[in-house]
Amino acid sequence: MQLYISEKNLKALLDRLIADGMRVVAPRMDAGTPLYGPLTDSAGIVLDQLPRRSAKEAFFPLCEDIMSYEKQGRKVSLTDIDPAGFPETVLVGVRPCDAAAIPVLDAVFSWDYKDEFFLERRRKTTIVGLACTKADDACFCTAVGLSPANPKGSDLFLTPLEGGGYACETFTEKGEALVNANRELFAEPNGSTALPLAEPQTERFDLKKVKAWLDGHFEDPAWDSIAVRCVGCGACAFLCPACHCFDIVDEGTEKAGKRRKNWDACGFWKFTHHASGHNPRDLQPKRYRNRIMHKFKYYDDKFGQTLCSGCGRCIRFCPVGIDIAAIVSEISKK
């Protein structure tokens, strides 16, 4: 279904959804930083910049309670968090790099163990994607086979038009349902042309060649020169739309507390630190190697997909300027 929606009507749609009790999550400013979060009204939406953290947190939050415990005398009671209580959500203004990573994550969260925390949010969320009209030299979606107008992962996709408003295309039943329930806010396409799309400058990676090299080079001196500068923080993994490792901790007192699921990162020394004291990834290059291997080899081996959508956040915010696009491009030329 192809339609048109004006900027004014898009805001009216969001306000109506909020008034109806729907949770509307979109990019907005949070203490000076653009982040996805629940809107209280449409005025707060910020659509002119990529949020600092990716949209994965709408399904896989930075931190969530998964269980609570309470001890009374000798009796311990455990209470599960029931994902059935998660709210219906519309996730709006999601850039193609962020949206494309979400179906990639479906594979791992519904593999041997069905992660209901992730999957229930997926079922209850409608994703409204938004095409990009600007890119910087850290953007590289086109290098991994995506594009600034790729609707992968979006239920409904918006493309900004010359003269204002958006071309609106539905891709799933969820997207159609959202449009049909609010049909009078949409109009037939008005013939306007789309604004020129962003043009990321990075050349396309030959992902098959990259994987072939990774298959044979678990041990290679290149890892040392690539990662000698890595300081071992979690900025790349935490900003990444596709990184999905987590840690489970119990927090509270002897009497009562919560079991929580937190984002984790393979760059941390503690990530593979064994209780014995042994660490199989004893130096940073081994940890950074895992990041590349997981994205361009292991995930491909297991699920036939690439765990990177080229958003460029890890490049922009790496404290020491590590550039995954440069590294993968180099590997594809080996």
Partner: protein
């Protein structure tokens, strides 16, 4: 006013001098490696590099994108850099203060270092694209109040004089603004900032003074600080860090530069530094001292807080 350009024309000559000196000390065997900056893929960008062969000295550069404090690579926490033999390091004046502190804390020995000092007019703020020209508006906040444009006590400093215009100070103005708040307002301000913290620990990992082999905050038996990125653990983490750095942090502002959530962490450190200056007339980073004011006892210290 914000568009006023800052003259970085000396950086080309500084780059050439760094390359020449690195080539010399590597080829003559004075050092095993030189830690410096090299150009990276993105236009105008730079990243830390470890050069071990004289032939690679030509990779070294200095530009307004050379933001990192490389001192972090010399600490115990970084096991990947060769530690045998003398190490050369490219240092700006602000970075040198961290090295001075590390020597005072017996983490480094002066004779094991070959310091290549950089006459510096300033570097870019973290939010600026690396190919942007340096101006009064794009310069890093710390550079606005720099008192170390020309590092002293180095083994080699290119003979260039940076042009350093007077700029409006950032941290002193921000501290004054926060000091003027009521405690409730200040609490609300930091609550809003710390709420964004994702516990990526980039602040800790780039800090030259966070050299503990195991951070207290990484312990889980017993757990000292909640690791979860929630208000309690976030507050605890940032307060512990600010207190642990009081009297040690010399203001390289790396923690603030790298914070992907834009938390103004250096404000905490500058506030602590201000307190130390007022209470003990102490400033970190100017001379190698075995003990800072918080590690010594003097009968003349202010004791009015004991009641």
């Amino acid at each position: 006013m914000h568009d006023n350009p800052i003259d970085t024309s000396i950086y080309a000559a500084v780059t050439e001098a760094i390359q020449g000196e690195a080539r010399r000390i590597l080829s003559e065997g004075h050092v095993a490696a030189v830690v410096g900056y090299a150009a990276a893929r993105r236009k105008g960008s730079a990243q830390p590099v470890v050069v071990t062969r004289a032939d690679d000295a030509g990779k070294l550069i200095f530009s307004a994108a050379c933001v990192n404090n490389l001192a972090v690579y010399l600490t115990k926490a970084r096991k990947e850099i060769p530690k045998s033999g003398k190490i050369g390091i490219v240092v700006k004046g602000c970075d040198l203060k961290a090295l001075v502190g590390l020597m005072g804390e017996s983490q480094l020995k002066r004779e094991e270092l070959y310091l290549i000092g950089v006459p510096c007019a300033g570097v870019l703020a973290s939010t600026i694209q690396p190919d942007t020209a340096l101006t009064a508006g794009t310069i890093a906040p710390k550079c606005r109040e720099c008192d170390a444009h020309l590092p002293t006590g180095c083994d080699f400093v290119p003979a260039r004089q940076p042009v350093t215009p007077e700029l409006e100070k950032h941290y002193s103005a921000e501290i004054a603004r926060l000091e003027a708040m009521t405690p409730a307002e200040r609490w609300a301000y930091w609550k809003g900032q710390f709420k964004k913290c994702i516990k990526c620990y980039a602040c800790r990992q780039v800090c030259p003074f966070c050299f503990c082999e195991q951070c207290l905050c990484d312990r889980n038996k017993p757990q000292m600080v909640e690791t979860t990125p929630r208000p309690a653990g976030n507050f605890a983490w940032h307060i512990v860090r600010a207190m642990h750095l009081a009297g040690r942090c010399a203001g390289c502002a790396e923690c603030e530069r790298v914070c992907p959530m834009d938390i103004p962490l250096n404000l905490l450190n500058r506030k602590m530094a201000k307190e130390l200056k007022e209470l003990y007339d102490y400033e970190a980073g100017f001379e190698v001292r075995e003990k800072g004011p918080l590690a010594t006892y003097d009968e003349k210290d202010d004791q009015s807080f004991i009641k």
